[in-house]
């Protein structure tokens, strides 16, 4: 079994950005202060998807003939925090 720890402060900042902007990308999370690795960013992303019942999808971010993508986490209803059980 693998364990992925996530920093509490970074997760809160990522959650606030998600609430404020309606979406956050995996690259954004990797760029947050205190996020030390891609594995940590991935763990935060997974936690956001769960906590907000958010949608995770892939967005193409290149216009040329070679495609590049990034993972995007989007609130299903932007600006509305989910009611958690």
């Amino acid at each position: 079994m693998k364990e992925h720890s996530f920093d509490t402060l970074s997760t809160k900042i990522a959650a606030l950005l998600l609430l404020h902007e309606g979406e956050i990308t995996l690259t954004d999370i990797e760029a947050l202060p205190l996020v030390e690795s891609q594995a940590m960013a991935a763990a935060i992303a997974m936690r956001l998807v769960e906590a907000f019942s958010a949608e995770r999808s892939q967005r193409k971010r290149s216009k040329g003939d070679i495609s590049f993508w990034e993972d995007v986490i989007r609130l299903r209803q932007p600006g509305i925090a989910p009611v958690m059980a």
Binding site: H20, R47, A51, I66, W69, A81
Partner: protein
């Protein structure tokens, strides 16, 4: 971030993309096949990627071409999407489909490359096991735990052993921490899916000349035969388990490795740009928004399981 600095960074990204394009074209001159780079890095293979790749292939090659090389850089994703993508690439590599792996084609991306006629690897390229991964929140220690359905059997065995040894209290405690039986059953079943897809793909291209038992053995090895999901299946291991894998020739290897290095550089430039932008974005968050954060951001939600490969 000042506009001028942002523009300079974006020019740098454009230059790197152009350099990747040049290397792809160089590879196209060396090999008789069309070449499609599937450079996903840490982006998951999911439905949207399938849509975009289909758009690209239709635009580049119309209804199909005869020989196709696909350069894969991926950590994996959804196993259904990977299977769909493999079938799609087959339509565009009707006579010959070759997957080229500079560094990573792990997990569901391994299933994808098993859809080809052969796979070309660098000496440091890695494939990986195709067992699905279950992710679950550990609320006490604020971390996510990722495990394979392969661990279910060993956990049940551990509990059985504790009962046999007369440690009823401990065994009962472990039993209570286990998932709902139907959920456990569905986790175990999810492993079957990867194996079925592998058999379908391998038996119709890469291992087309082998018996069903031989193909099944390779699929079983890839889904159940490794102790950890991160196991490094390098060229030698890929050959040893029966995959049609070869090392790239020197000239091809130089180009493919350069594509890998350029892709990494591009990701780093983009990450650095994002680091500068994110500081500004954090300052724009209204302080009152903190009240809207879910109270159980660090607690276990009722429904928290996700499976991916």
């Amino acid at each position: 971030m000042p506009k001028q600095a942002a523009s300079a960074k974006s020019t740098k990204v454009s230059r790197l993309e152009e350099a990747i394009r040049e290397q792809r074209d160089k590879l196209g001159q060396l090999r008789p096949n069309s070449c499609y780079p599937l450079l996903l890095s840490n982006t998951s293979i999911e439905g949207h990627v399938v849509d975009d790749v289909y758009d690209d292939l239709r635009r580049n090659y119309g209804v199909g071409c005869d020989r196709l090389d696909v350069i894969v850089d991926s950590g994996g994703g959804d196993v259904d999407a990977a299977y769909n993508l493999a079938q799609l690439f087959r339509r565009y590599g009707r006579q010959r489909l070759v997957f080229i792996v500079p560094r990573w084609a792990k997990s569901a991306a391994t299933l994808l490359v098993c859809g080809g006629d052969s796979v070309l690897m660098t000496p440091v390229a890695e494939l990986g096991p195709v067992d699905p991964q279950i992710t679950e929140m550990n609320p006490l220690e604020r971390r996510l735990e990722q495990f394979s359905p392969l661990h279910i059997e060993s956990t049940l065995e551990l509990i059985r052993d504790e009962y046999k040894a007369g440690n009823k209290q401990l065994a009962d405690g472990l039993m209570q921490r286990l998932q709902f039986p139907l959920t456990l059953g569905s986790y175990k079943k999810s492993m079957e899916l990867g194996k079925q897809y592998l058999i379908k793909l391998l038996s119709t291209r890469m291992l087309g000349g082998k018996t069903h038992q031989e193909v099944e053995a390779v699929a079983k090895r890839l889904t159940e035969g490794y102790a950890d999901h991160g196991f490094c299946i390098n060229l030698q291991e890929a050959q040893a388990i029966g995959l049609e894998a070869q090392e790239l020739s020197t000239e091809e290897l130089d180009i493919v490795w350069e594509i890998h290095r350029l892709t990494r550089q591009k990701s780093e430039v983009e990450r650095e740009r994002r680091r500068r932008e994110i500081e500004k974005r954090i300052k724009e968050i209204p302080p009152e928004l903190i009240e809207k954060l879910p109270s159980d951001l660090f607690r276990r939600p009722e429904k928290q399981d996700t499976a991916s490969s």
